[in-house]
């Protein structure tokens, strides 16, 4: 235990009333200052709202960390074309599990943020592209949108402001690549979800070839709090370049997995301290800072500040802050093989390096895991990953290379061991959530 209780570092904002028995309702949201930021926004000129969000330093929470206000500013104004806001709620990056609980427990924070964003960029039709595999969330979004229309937060002349907005909830149909923003737009236009060539960027030619902002759920849901409590409050958290609060998602072999909302720059050590550490009797072996597409870390990286610069300087990416923690019972080759199978399955097939490369990575990895690999396969893995990374049409390819490079960097001996022993040295039963429970029972 640290001297200052680690949990004092937490700062629940979006999650502040998730334990309210009816947290998802308009009534609860209003009781927690909901829709007050909207009145503030309507009292400002749209350009001033953009400038305010830009000054707050809010950066995109969908993975790349692009400044949100700047993205809004790129929308050409006075161009006579319709503008669109599309919220990316496709959340499918392995390990990522923040937007779905956020939408389940507090959908109105997103809706209020969307109205503010649309007012700022002068959009009158907004979309939420929700991955289809989460029907409980879809239900609550349908209901929240219905409530918002009924209360006059959506529709025509919202709250007497003269501003009109239609909001459409759109359920996807199962494809990780549709989280990539240009593939998402193709999918929303009723096509196969394949990435588009950029430029033109969505800000110029997005949905229906009109100026479009694509933002992550958490990015947009953070906007009302920034307007309501002020940009200085927001900047009082985190660092100069990574200001504000965010949702960290702790999963895997930790004593207490879950959502931990706090200032950017917290370390995994601090999060584990408050989360009760790894499960009893085990130690951290490897972890991802932001989903499977971000290069993995080890216990050497426990003190890396989890913000955009800190994680970048340590050789990975903050990504979606999906902290998947694996203990010493876990086979790294098994983990990487499974992730690579995922990338091969989800590769949209548009470009050769990713389509072919992920296929061959899977073949090599399966052989190694099954004890049929050769030492020369390790260089081959590296080579193939090198031919995908930076040479693919979209970032899915780079993401597929990340677990390969990073696991070979930190755990090459474990690959070699599979090859030399002609098999996997790990017992998967020991990694399961119930492994220790049964063992203790047997000895009780």
């Amino acid at each position: 235990m640290t001297v200052e209780p680690a949990e004092k570092l937490l700062a629940p904002v979006l999650s502040a009333f998730w334990d309210d028995p009816r947290s998802w309702t308009l009534e609860t949201y209003r009781r927690h200052d909901g829709y007050q930021a909207l009145s503030k926004a309507f009292a400002m000129a749209p350009d001033d709202v953009i400038a305010y969000v830009k000054d707050s330093g809010l950066r995109g929470r969908g993975g790349a960390g692009f400044p949100t206000g700047m993205k809004w500013q790129f929308i050409p104004q006075g161009d006579g074309k319709p503008h669109y806001l599309v919220v990316n709620a496709d959340e499918s990056e392995p390990g990522t599990c923040k937007d779905i609980p956020l939408l389940f427990a507090n959908p109105h924070s997103l809706i209020e943020g969307m109205i503010i964003a649309c007012y700022a960029i002068r959009s009158h039709h907004a979309f939420i592209y929700l991955r289809g595999e989460t029907v409980p969330v879809l239900r609550r979004l349908h209901e929240a949108v219905r409530e918002a229309y009924a209360a006059g937060y959506l529709g025509t002349n919202i709250q007497g402001s003269g501003f009109d907005l239609e909001l459409t909830v759109h359920a996807g149909a199962g494809a990780y690549i549709c989280g990539e923003e240009t593939a998402l737009l193709d999918s929303l236009e009723g096509r196969r979800g394949q990435p588009r060539l950029r430029p033109p960027f969505p800000a110029v030619e997005g949905l229906y070839a009109c100026p479009t902002v694509v933002n992550n759920v958490e990015s947009i849901a953070s906007v009302p709090a920034i307007l309501q409590r002020g940009k200085d409050w927001f900047k009082s958290m985190g660092s100069e370049k990574s200001p504000g609060f965010t949702l960290y998602s702790l999963s895997g072999h930790v004593a207490r997995p879950g959502q931990y909302e706090g200032p950017l720059g917290i370390t995994l050590r601090q999060l584990l301290d408050m989360g009760g550490g790894m499960r009893p009797g085990h130690r951290l072996k490897f972890w991802t800072p932001g989903g499977s597409s971000t290069p993995m870390f080890t216990d050497e990286h426990l003190d890396v500040p989890l913000d955009y610069e800190g994680v970048g300087a340590a050789g990975s990416m903050l990504g979606t802050k999906a902290l998947q923690c694996f203990d010493e019972t876990t086979c790294v080759v098994r983990a990487v093989t499974r992730w690579t199978e995922f990338y091969a399955h989800e590769s949209c097939g548009k470009c050769t390096p990713c389509r072919e490369g992920t296929y061959w990575l899977v073949q090599l990895l399966r052989d190694i895991e099954a004890g049929k690999g050769h030492i020369s396969d390790l260089d081959k893995l590296n080579d193939i990953a090198d031919n995908i990374n930076g040479k693919s049409f979209c970032a899915l390819g780079d993401g597929a290379a990340a677990p390969i490079f990073s696991s070979l960097k930190y755990f090459r001996e474990e690959y070699e061991e599979h090859i030399e022993r002609k098999g996997c040295p790990f017992d998967p039963a020991r990694s399961t959530a119930w492994a220790d429970k049964y063992r203790t029972e047997a000895h009780a």
């Binding site: 235990m1 949990e7 937490l10 629940p12 999650s15 334990d19 028995p21 009816r22 947290s23 998802w24 959340e91 499918s92 990056e93 392995p94 599990c97 609980p101 389940f104 427990a105 039709h125 289809g132 595999e133 029907v135 409980p136 239900r139 459409t168 759109h170 359920a171 996807g172 149909a173 199962g174 929303l188 236009e189 009723g190 196969r192 229906y208 702790l250 999963s251 895997g252 004593a255 207490r256 997995p257 959502q259 931990y260 909302e261 584990l272 408050m274 009760g276 550490g277 009893p280 009797g281 499977s292 999906a322 694996f326 098994r334 983990a335 499974r338 399955h345 990694s431 399961t432 959530a433």
Partner: protein, 251 residues
């Protein structure tokens, strides 16, 4: 499609019976009206035809094409891209076991093996009674509730082989099954209708299972100085309950 084409052109698909067609057309118009461009309605319309047929049939493809002024080839190209569109008849309950890395390691692989054996079916196969289609699925944004099983896309969190076996037995026996997060189960076709954009009108469906799940509240509870929520064994019948691990500090 899985069948090998022998180069013989297929006959055009039959249309829906007139009454079904009329009902679906009225639904389809409502969906199309939500979008500035009609083609955007294609994904919801494919969900809609699944709500009628349980999978994407040739009749369903023809219907989508006619509603949107597309060719059946264009519709087929889209429907085969997305994993949620089924290509063959399947069960009332789709049981999806997450076997992406984190869930797999935490026990998803063991759960999937157990269910394959218990049900006597492989991946993407349906039990003989037509009740359950077993599938392994990718990360479903619930890793803090691992291992996760989805039934008709409702969350069954923190599963074990025993709880998952009980779950499918209950489904097959027709007993009421409640997800840990989500509403009491409806059939696959009813789920597909919600996905097409038609709200679930069942009494209590939206509020079912309460606010956030326990893991979602981990940080909030800690910040408040409250006792941590139990992380395992939320299903009433679930045999496991690790209770409170908060006193241990593994670091």
């Amino acid at each position: 499609m899985t069948d090998v084409s022998l180069g013989i052109p297929q006959m055009p698909a039959p249309d829906y019976p007139a009454d079904v067609r009329a009902r679906l057309e009225s639904d389809a118009r409502e969906v199309i009206a939500r979008y500035p461009g009609s083609r955007s309605a294609l994904l919801p319309l494919l969900h809609l035809v699944q709500s009628e047929d349980g999978h994407v049939t040739r009749t369903g493809i023809r219907f989508c094409a006619e509603m949107l002024g597309l060719t059946t080839a264009e519709v087929t190209a889209v429907s085969t891209f997305y994993t949620m569109y089924r290509r063959k008849p399947s069960g009332d309950y789709q049981v999806g076991v997450c076997t992406n890395t984190l869930c797999a390691v935490m026990g998803g692989d063991a759960i999937f093996d157990e269910l394959k054996q218990h049900l006597g079916v492989g991946n993407d196969e349906t039990t003989e009674d037509g009740k359950v289609t077993l599938e392994h699925i990718e990360c479903n944004a619930a890793c803090d509730f691992a291992p996760v099983v989805m039934v008709n896309w409702e969350f069954f969190d923190n599963q074990t082989p025993e709880s998952a076996r009980q779950l499918v037995d209950d489904l097959i026996a027709g007993r009421e099954v409640r997800p840990t997060r989500g509403a009491p189960l409806c059939t696959y076709k009813e789920t597909a209708r919600i996905l097409a954009g038609f709200p679930d009108t069942r009494e209590g469906a939206v509020e079912a299972s309460g606010g956030a799940g326990p893991a979602s509240l981990a940080g909030l509870r800690l910040h408040r100085g409250e006792a941590p929520a139990r992380v395992v064994g939320q299903r009433a019948e679930s045999p496991t309950d690790t209770g409170d691990a908060s006193v241990e500090d593994g670091e």
